[in-house]
Amino acid sequence: MSGIESIPAWAALPVALLLVIGASIILTGALGLLRLPTFYQRMHGPAITVTLGAGCLLLASMLYFTVAQSRLVIHELIISVFLLLTAPVVAMTVMRAAVYRDLRARKQEAGATAGGVYVIPPEPDDNAPETKP
């Protein structure tokens, strides 16, 4: 049907540019996930992957298929809208889970603070009789 050969130069240039920029941004996001020291800093790495990187690649895909098939192909917009809707939900849920777990484990060095929202569980009393079986 359509291949790389059928793409004219004026369309191949922006598609290649968007691919290179998007792939570099994805690599940067994953590098941030790998290299940053604490979890709350590592949260910020994938954010750039799912917004800018995915946006650039979806734009490149839209442009490529629009030119290759000589008609308007914009159903990649479904994925971009879905990603833009779900990325904050995922980030917030994982972050809340991390804050919960850090507060429950009383890991003060992780940097989690109650913020007046959650109650830090009281210090376990060593002299109290064991209630768990």
């Binding site: 050969e5 540019l17 996001g29 996930l33 939900v89 889970a97 919960y100």
Partner: protein, 92 residues
């Protein structure tokens, strides 16, 4: 111009694969459970973008459907795992 586009596609494939390798390292070596959940979510997203780049490479629309399915399942699985981490159960 085809060679330029092929080079760009090859560069994008290599970059996305290296990003997936980084996510896999964080998934295996993550110190805590929420690190692993975050790495798995990024791995889903990178897999979806890999399917998109492969769709451009081979010029078919089949990979688009794979990408949208990967995005949907990745979102649901990440939410389920985060919910499990927070509460200890998924459906309350």
């Amino acid at each position: 111009m085809e060679t330029l586009l092929e080079l760009a596609i090859g560069y994008a494939l290599v970059c996305v694969l290296v990003a997936m390798a980084f996510c896999a390292v964080r998934l295996l070596a993550g110190p805590s459970a929420h690190d692993r959940v975050l790495a798995l979510d990024t791995l889903w997203m990178s897999g979806m973008l890999l399917a998109l780049v492969l769709g451009i490479r081979f010029g078919t629309q089949v990979y688009f459907e794979a990408a949208i399915l990967i995005a949907l399942v990745g979102f649901v699985s990440t939410i389920a795992m985060a919910k499990f981490l927070m509460r200890g159960e998924i459906i309350e």
